[in-house]
Symmetry: C2
Subunit: 180 residues, 2 copies
DNA sequence: TCGAATTTGTACCGATCGGTACAGAGGCGC
DNA sequence: GCGCCTCTGTACCGATCGGTACAAATTCGA
């Protein structure tokens, strides 16, 4: 029920942000009228956004974070992360909704979810790096660097309208991890 | 006249984005009524945002881009950039308005300004690195990396509510440039 | 096939949106 | 003190906002 329209809903929030995603835009994006929308999400926009966040978080948790924590060998798990990230963000043409919320006023509303998402990403990646033989503090620093670079690459790729930049940045990160 | 309220105006756009910065929030942030606002900016919100972008762009151009291009020695110009960035973005507690617009729907409206801003930043930094002895293509790659990392560090520092992360990322970049 | 329950579109609500009109307050030369 | 011109607050405009109510359409079990 809900799950089927979550992708369209997510896309609407991604493209316009929380405040910019008006009900009319949402009805258009999902193809559902207000009646259906408010039956599925009695809490209105707030609940819609929360559900979308939850879905995105769940996807990253199972497709990226968990493999990073447990995948063997760790080097391959990291490599798989880069491939998944490249695909998920469409080479930087698709924006990171959680990142957008972190920058906007939505940080107050969804602050806990936003913080948890990035904290778990960094921690999972650091765990993988540690298992791959990197030092304790070096792993955390490198993980922070990688996640920051990914987020920044999305900004730059969109700003310059240059998806290749995103791919290029990811490639640099991979080689940095390999040689570190 | 205009110049005096531009900082308050910029802050409003930074905090709420273009769509979220309603006229009522703007009047509150600037202390000016609609009457005064529309006499200063007959073009409405659009003109306000354009002026703010222009002011920000001008500040970066004179305080950061130009010194990067011409500053001697180049290493010191780069170092000055990091200090200016740390101060300007308040250790990641202040958001980059141009970055926010790049992620949001404002990319269509202000696409040219957004693109130019980041392109000049990267190019100016690359020029400085070249003058410091880095290779042609290595300079561009490194410049892209630095600007992306700065933007990503803003996202992460806000998401995790951790200004120290921003400072940490900048420190890593400085040492990377020094040893590259 | 028919009645109940679910699902949907649409009309409507008060509030707020971006923007305009304009009367009056305030400063300034003379 | 007077007239002029700049500046500002406020009332108002149609449109749209998020949200509600509800009747018609649809689905589905029996």
């Amino acid at each position: 029920m809900r799950a089927e329209i979550l992708p369209a809903l997510a896309e609407a929030f991604r493209q316009h942000g929380y405040e910019g995603a008006s009900l009319s835009r949402i009805t258009q994006a999902t193809g559902l009228g207000k009646g259906s929308l408010y039956r599925l999400f009695p809490g209105g926009k707030d609940e819609m956004a929360a559900c979308v966040l939850d879905a995105i978080d769940g996807w990253f948790e199972s497709e990226i974070f968990a493999p990073l924590r447990q995948g063997e060998p760790p080097g391959e798990a990291v490599s798989a992360m880069f491939e998944a990230v490249e695909r998920y963000f469409r080479s930087g043409q698709r924006v990171c909704l959680i990142g957008v919320l972190a920058l906007g006023a939505g940080r107050d509303r969804f602050g806990a979810a936003v913080r948890s998402y990035f904290a778990r990403w960094i921690e999972a990646l650091a765990a993988s790096l540690r298992r791959a033989g990197h030092g304790e503090s070096a792993s955390t620093a490198l993980a922070e660097e990688v996640v920051a670079q990914i987020q920044g690459a999305i900004v730059l790729a969109r700003a310059l309208d240059d998806p290749a930049l995103f791919t290029r940045r990811l490639a640099t990160l991979r080689s940095r991890i390999a040689t570190a």
